[in-house]
């Protein structure tokens, strides 16, 4: 007797494809990039897979070049602000703040502060930590 290999394969494939379609996208922490403007600056903020613990944030500034960039996290729901972390240069108009501690999950707000000859500016980016 010939086994219905083709039939079994088709059914298994359809079930597997259906399961993958259902589960796909549900549990992947996507990198987030947000953009805001303040005064002469346009600021892009990226966080790769925000998580509890140390995080690395990338800040890209278009417009006049700032002298100093800091990022300061606030746990909005707890009302707890943390000291600002300086972001070092990482190419022209790019800055990177490494090991910014976010000790709990939930809604964070990251204040990016710019200082420079074109004046100070602050922009706030929301960040959801899972």
């Amino acid at each position: 007797m010939k086994r219905p290999t083709l039939l079994i394969t088709v059914v298994v494939l359809v079930v597997a494809a259906g399961s993958a379609w259902l589960l796909w996208g549900g549990n992947s922490a996507k990198p987030t990039t947000q953009q805001a403007t303040s005064g002469p600056y346009t600021v892009q903020f990226s966080a790769d897979e925000p998580r509890i613990g140390g995080n690395t944030f990338a800040v890209a500034v278009t417009g006049p070049a700032p002298d100093a960039v800091t990022v300061a996290p606030v746990m909005a729901q707890m009302g707890h602000a943390f000291a600002a972390v300086p972001a070092g240069p990482d190419g022209p108009g790019r800055f990177r703040a490494a090991d910014v501690g976010l000790p709990m999950s939930g809604q964070w707000e990251i204040t990016v502060s710019l200082r420079g000859p074109s004046g100070p500016a602050q922009v706030v980016f929301p960040l959801l930590v899972k």
Binding site: M1, L22, G25, G26, Q34, A81, Q107, Q122
Partner: protein, 458 residues
């Protein structure tokens, strides 16, 4: 049997996903005191993107004609501009902008004089919850397997081979029915906008990072600093826990901030400061008196809960003081005869009888009543600022079952009686100000209420 179960599940599980505090696609009404104009800005619902964004601006009696410049911005970049030409007659004036993606947007209005007023708002996305995907996908797969089983049963050499796709059919049906049955008990993800800070990512897919919070969504109380500036007031709102500017106000009762100011002689103004920057709100005060004003701001931060922040401000001005208003009885306000009756007791009911049932909703309500007291002495502003009772009482418009959008101000069909019930906490002389809108004019009816010692006992 499985089909019956599935139908039952679908019938029970018809909950709607709310991507914002308001139902998806509802109109947003925002009162704005822009310069000398008191406007109501109505951002009409957007169902799909990209699409035009209709913005209606309602003017009131005495609003100067002119042109408002509107912009819509996303990511800090202006993507659409339009003008609204306000006529001399009070009424609704339309404008059209364009939005091209769901997420947090910012509408700005400028009258060409001061800084532009900015209103953050959400363009909702159509969100398909995971259980819906499972249910629909499961039923589609079940149908495919059923066809396959039929074909195999008829064409194959052994009829028993049809059991293989039939197994797939049972698995698919199980997925579909489970999804449908779980739909009723699946909690919606935290709502971007009213609970979480909205971003383009989480508005489009609120399930992606969905995690119910371990702590309350509410935020700390605000600190209110009131500064004078030429022509009005500048309000600085800072977070009570971090000192940072507060930029997460939600639209509550059709405004970002309800500012009630009481003049030194007892005139009340109910104003709606415009947002010009994070935590920076401006409002103009027309023709002020000299002396101490009582200031109270009602607002809601993201996460919920109405907050009341009270303060005082000293203004310079030349307006003549007003005298103490009467209690109950007939009077004429801006040409409208009004009869006020006050039924003392615990609680006390204050009713204003207007001449006709042609009142319009203002701020989503039929009427507003501001209560301050007990007040002694002639300096009402300073006394109201220190008064233990400061209340804002509402008279609802009668709700219409099944109507998602609330009527806007063009519906002049309410009244003629506006009734408020309030329980006074202590005996004494209170100042009350009753507000209702008629013929595009917000009528403010001041009165005094003497609460006797016996009437105040609970």
């Amino acid at each position: 049997m499985l089909l019956l179960l599935a139908l039952l599940g679908i019938t029970l599980g018809t909950g709607t996903a709310h991507a914002d505090g308001a139902p998806v696609g509802a109109d947003i009404q925002v009162a704005q005191t822009l310069g000398a104009r008191e406007l109501t800005v109505i951002i009409r619902r957007v169902d799909t993107t990209p699409s035009p964004l209709r913005v209606d601006v309602v003017t009131h009696q005495g609003t100067a004609p002119g042109t408002l410049h509107l912009t819509a911005a996303a990511d800090g970049v202006v993507t659409s501009r339009g003008d609204v030409v306000l006529g001399a007659e009070p009424g609704m004036y339309p404008g059209t902008l364009r939005v091209d993606k769901p997420g947090p947007w910012q509408l700005s209005l400028s009258d060409g004089t001061g800084p532009a007023a900015t209103i953050p708002f959400l363009v909702p996305a159509r969100v398909v919850p995971p259980w819906e995907k499972a249910t629909y996908g499961g039923f589609v797969a079940a149908g495919v397997f059923l066809l396959l089983a039929l074909v195999v049963g008829v064409r194959a050499r052994r009829t028993a081979f049809a059991l293989i796709p039939a197994g797939g059919l049972v698995a698919a049906l199980a997925v579909a029915v489970t999804g449908a049955l779980l739909s009723a008990s699946t909690p919606p993800p935290p709502a971007p906008g009213s609970q979480l800070d909205p971003t383009f990512d989480n508005v489009t897919d609120p399930y992606a990072n969905a995690q119910l919070s371990t702590v309350d969504y509410s935020r700390p109380p605000v600190n209110l600093a009131v500064h004078t500036q030429p022509g009005g007031l500048r309000l600085a709102l800072t977070d009570g826990a971090t000192g940072l500017p507060v930029d997460d106000l939600l639209i509550h009762d059709n405004a970002l901030v309800h500012l009630v100011v009481v003049s030194p002689s007892g005139r009340m103004s109910h104003l709606h400061p415009v947002r010009v920057g994070p935590g920076d709100y401006r409002v103009s005060v027309a023709d002020p008196e000299a002396g101490t004003y009582a200031v109270a701001a009602e607002l809601v931060r993201r996460g919920g809960g109405v907050q009341l922040a009270r303060s005082t401000v000293d203004l310079n001005g030349t307006a003549a003081p007003t005298s103490e208003p009467p209690g109950a009885g007939k009077r004429t306000i801006n040409g409208t005869p009004v009869d006020l009756t006050i039924s003392p007791g615990t609680p006390t009911t204050v009713t204003a009888h207007f001449p006709a049932g042609d009142l319009q909703p203002w701020l989503g309500m039929l009427g507003h009543l501001i209560v301050a007291g007990p007040i002694t002495g002639p300096d009402v502003g300073a006394a109201a600022a220190k008064a233990p009772t400061w209340a804002h009482v509402h008279a609802m418009i009668p709700p219409v079952a099944g109507q998602l959008d609330r009527p806007d101000e063009t519906v002049a069909a309410y009244g003629p009686d506006v009734s408020f019930t309030y329980t006074f906490a202590a005996p004494g002389r209170y100042r009350i100000w009753l507000q209702a809108e008629r013929d595009y004019r917000v009528l403010t009816i001041p009165a005094v209420v003497d609460v006797p010692t016996t009437g105040a006992a609970r």
